[in-house]
């Protein structure tokens, strides 16, 4: 029962990746695409943890940690670029 | 090393405290109990925190502040859950019901850390997103504007958080 629910949860998260990708392709401005990228990164953290769970390897969690630390770096870089700073 | 105030025991205490927090994160991540490993990591954490700790002051910790901090975390979590139900309710309707606008509110907080936490809390609460901060005025994007004036918006958005943050950082 619990295993089935976890699998359903991972499929729903994957659907979220697809939906946010559509906004990434459509998005009229660079800032819209950056919002979509931010959302995709946060969903990917959960997706990586799901993959680590299904393959049962603790080392895969390190990739999720790197994304957790660095996910806001690219967004802040784009924001500084738009403001004319950097 | 910006040790402008010179060496004090209070600063040494802050450095050791930061190093202990860093080692705590490492142990939570790796579950290691090896003594040599912990010794090396503890030394590295001390070096890093000595490089980056600038302040030599520790805020006065009282039981009241601790109690208010715990209550604040609970209040914030309830606000996050409420905001998510609100967003979910809006998103799944065929015609999205929004009435957005950018309003200005004013804060009474003085401490910079308190203002930062207030801005981040506003971003996580129902229907509001802090767009810009100029002095003690926050410019907030509100998804459903019910009050355009400064006083009314302040009462509706920040008053609940300020009650706790004033005690914690006051």
């Amino acid at each position: 029962m619990a295993d089935l629910l976890i699998h359903i949860a991972s499929v729903i998260a994957m659907l979220g990746v697809i939906v946010a990708s559509i906004r990434f392709v459509l998005g009229p401005t660079a800032a819209d695409r950056t919002v979509a990228l931010d959302t995709l990164t946060i969903i990917s953290i959960s997706l990586i943890v799901f993959i680590a769970l299904f393959t049962n390897r603790v080392i895969y969690l390190d990739v999720a940690l790197v994304y957790g630390i660095l996910s806001f770096l690219g967004v802040v870089a784009v924001a500084r670029y738009l403001e004319g700073g950097l | 090393m910006q040790s402008s105030a010179g060496f004090t025991f209070e600063k040494l205490f802050v450095i050791v405290l930061v190093a202990v927090v860093l080692v705590g994160f490492y142990v939570a991540w790796t579950h290691t109990t090896d003594a040599g490993n912990l010794l090396v990591i503890g030394g590295m954490a001390l070096v890093v925190s000595a490089l980056f700790v600038r302040t030599g002051k520790l805020p006065r910790i009282t039981p009241k502040k601790v109690a208010y901090s715990i209550a604040y975390i609970g209040y914030l979590f309830v606000a996050i859950v409420k905001s998510n139900l609100d967003v979910a309710r809006r998103v799944i309707q065929p015609k999205i019901p929004i009435n957005p606008g950018i309003v200005v509110v004013k804060t009474r907080l003085k401490s910079p850390v308190g203002r930062m936490i207030l801005a981040n809390s506003i971003t996580l609460t129902p229907g509001t997103l802090s767009v810009d901060v100029k002095g003690d005025h926050y410019y907030i994007h509100w998804i459903d504007v019910t009050d355009m004036e400064e006083e009314g918006a302040t009462e509706k958005i920040v008053a609940g958080f300020e009650k706790y943050l004033e005690v914690i950082f006051g």
Partner: protein
């Protein structure tokens, strides 16, 4: 699992095409970041966590910042107005 690998490959190709076709350079840099995000998850599925970690650090953090810095520098020398 095989299906997920194929989907991620298609997503990488789409993101790369978006990056090539965009006229706005900042948006193209963001699209390049998306390519490396998908590539990182793909490396993870192919059982290479070390490569995935490097791709995450370099692709998401460093290359975005350096690309934007380079775009900024180039533009300020070529455009004479404002």
């Amino acid at each position: 699992m095989m299906l997920l690998v194929v989907l991620l490959g298609i997503a990488m190709i789409v993101a790369a095409l978006v990056a090539v076709h965009l006229k706005n350079l900042a948006a193209a840099v963001v699209a390049a970041g998306l390519v490396s995000l998908f590539a990182s998850v793909l490396y993870l599925l192919l059982a290479a966590p070390d490569v995935a970690m490097t791709e995450a650090a370099i692709g998401a953090g460093l290359s975005t910042v350096i690309f934007l810095y380079a775009v900024k520098k180039t533009r300020s020398r070529e455009v004479e107005d404002d």
